[in-house]
């Protein structure tokens, strides 16, 4: 009771967010002795853009006001960490936030303006394949994955776009399948759908990308678990996954190395187990409250700016900081599920579910990977890791989720009005 009463006097969470940014970026300002004002500029622009978008969402009643707040907190933690790792990177990440927020509103408005999204099933399939062809034709291999297009100095990771297309594909199939069932037999439609889904995931595997297809498979499996009533369909898919996984471990050298490093990173600590061992050292060095920002050595972890950023957070903000990140994702996913549950239309329901599950599984897979709970696969931690493509597509997906929640809110307001 006392707790609840004092909670009424707590300022709104958005001010907490501003406070974290002010403290963190002022701290970074004092870090190097010829004082440079760039951390302050980055911090202020971060606060300004977050506040602007948040008050736009609240002022114009653009739906759920929590998801953006939660994402902003995650982004702030990530941006502070990235700035601390490399100030150039922090500045770039702040610029990406600007583009990400444009993508957020683009996702919001474009998704709202056009009403044809559920009928574009074949377009999503064709676009995914076209994207694959373009990537194979003009792509460049960066960090072992052939899924980058370099265009006038910008490198775009096409698998991020393929991810969103896949979610639209799933949603559009489940909203259109009644029509397809009327024309073809149920078994044939389901089989064709499964084949296409595996084909789209397989195309990503051909680009030597493992993390994204894994996340997409988990999303796909969760969605068919929700929509398909027949247990046999689930069994077939589970069997396919187990077969593909076993084959991967047995025949793909790259995966076998990962498995070896996962089972015992200490056996070959200088080579195969180096990444995971450094990550575990970093998490261990942090303890409960961490070393403090700027006082740890997270730069020793390979790939710390993207895949291993969670270890860096654990090292400098402690296990409490890491748990806070997980809690924030949990709240985000909870809100996403709530939006999906309240949806009336199948298309929007599946899409909201898909986007939420994508955030959830991506977080689970990468955090599980860096703490050696799961096999390590190189994917980004949504909204935290450095990376333009990932940030922009995630913000666009968040914009779509925001739009779906806004539509519900308007629908509910109008029914409440009719009741009166």
């Amino acid at each position: 009771m006392q707790l609840m009463r004092s909670a009424h006097k707590l300022p709104h969470p958005v001010y907490m967010l501003v406070l974290v940014d002010i403290f963190a970026f002022s701290l970074l300002f004092f870090r190097e002795t010829p004082y440079d004002i760039s951390p302050l500029i980055v911090g202020l622009s971060l606060i300004a853009s977050i506040l602007m978008v948040y008050f736009l969402i609240r002022g114009f009643k653009l739906g759920d006001e929590y998801i953006f707040l939660i994402v902003s907190m995650l982004f702030s933690i990530g941006a502070v960490m990235l700035y601390r790792l490399d100030s150039e990177l922090g500045i770039k990440q702040a610029k990406w936030l600007g583009i990400g927020l444009v993508a957020f509103f683009a996702g919001y408005f474009i998704f709202g303006w056009f009403k044809v999204w559920d009928r574009l099933l074949f377009f999503y399939m064709a676009a995914s394949m076209g994207l694959f062809a373009v990537t194979m034709g003009f792509g460049r291999e960066i960090k072992g994955s052939n899924n980058w297009i370099v265009f006038q100095g910008f490198s775009i990771q096409t698998s991020e776009i393929a991810k969103i297309l896949f979610l639209f594909f799933l949603a559009s199939y489940y909203s259109q399948r009644e029509k397809l069932f009327a024309r073809f037999s149920k078994v044939r439609v389901t089989a064709a759908f499964m084949l296409v889904a595996y084909l789209l995931m397989g195309l990503l595997v051909l680009q030597k990308e493992w993390g994204t297809p894994l996340v997409l498979f988990l999303v796909y499996f969760a969605v068919i678990y929700i929509f398909e009533k027949d247990v046999r369909i689930l069994l077939v898919n589970a069997l396919a996954a187990v077969t593909a996984g076993t084959a991967g471990v047995l025949f793909v050298h790259h995966i076998r190395v990962r498995v070896d490093a996962w089972i015992n990173p200490w056996a070959d600590i200088a080579q195969k187990g180096y990444q995971i061992a450094q990550s575990l050292f970093a998490i261990g060095a942090g303890g409960f409250f961490g070393t403090g920002i700027g006082l740890g050595r997270p730069e020793l972890i390979p790939e710390v700016r993207t895949d291993f950023i969670f270890s860096a957070i654990c090292e400098e903000m402690g296990i409490f900081g890491g748990v806070a990140v997980i809690l924030l994702f949990l709240l985000l996913v909870y809100r996403g599920f709530k939006i999906a549950l309240r949806c009336g239309e199948v298309f929007e329901k599946t899409l909201a579910l898909g986007i939420t599950l994508m955030f959830a599984f991506q977080t689970f897979v990468i955090i599980g990977g860096v703490i050696k709970l799961l096999l390590l696969t190189g994917i980004t931690l949504p909204f935290i890791s450095y990376g333009g493509s990932s940030l922009v597509t995630n913000f666009a997906a968040l914009g779509v989720l925001q739009r779906i929640s806004a539509k519900q809110a308007t629908a509910e307001r109008s029914t409440a009005y009719e009741d009166r």
Partner: protein, 160 residues
């Protein structure tokens, strides 16, 4: 100097981040509560028992409301129609009997007793009126007859 500030600020950061998380959770909680309070009375025209005590104080499962359709027993053991594992309830604590459209309440020799509007009940049945407060174990219920729904809402706002 930077070391000292940073190692002090880390506690501040963690605290603020958790206050943020707590604040978000609280807003979501209030949001859900206001929604369920809005929807409930409209749908129900049957008499029901509404929990008045704050649910989060209990470490056992208890519903926000119990619909009364027929004779109902309240108690800790599984055979009761309203079965709540409150250690202060007796195995069989009280019975609500339906006669005509109204309900009568009686205690069935419970250890800690049952109170109706602050007076302890005996084993003879007492007629329940809309807005009566029933106290059993650690729980406080409000009897809502279902015909006048305004009462239920007013009691909702009286909540501590």
């Amino acid at each position: 100097m930077f070391e000292i500030i940073s190692s002090l600020l880390k506690y501040v950061f963690i605290t603020i981040i958790y206050i943020f998380i707590f604040g978000i959770m609280r807003l979501i909680y209030l949001d859900i509560r206001s929604m369920s309070a809005k929807n409930f009375p409209k749908a129900v025209s049957l008499p029901y028992l509404k929990l008045v005590s704050l649910k989060d104080h209990f470490n056992f499962k208890v519903e926000e409301s119990y619909l009364l359709t027929e004779d109902t027993t309240i108690g800790r053991s599984r055979g009761n129609s309203i079965h709540i594992e409150d250690p202060f309830l007796s195995g069989r604590h009280a019975i609500l009997t339906k006669k005509g459209g109204s309900f009568y309440i009686q205690d069935v020799g419970s250890t800690n007793g049952t109170e109706l509007n602050g007076t302890r009940l005996g084993t003879e049945p007492v007629l329940l009126k809309d807005g009566d407060r029933i106290h059993a174990g650690q729980l406080d219920f409000l009897y809502v007859s279902g015909e006048r729904q305004g009462e239920g809402n007013a009691a909702d706002e009286k909540r501590p």
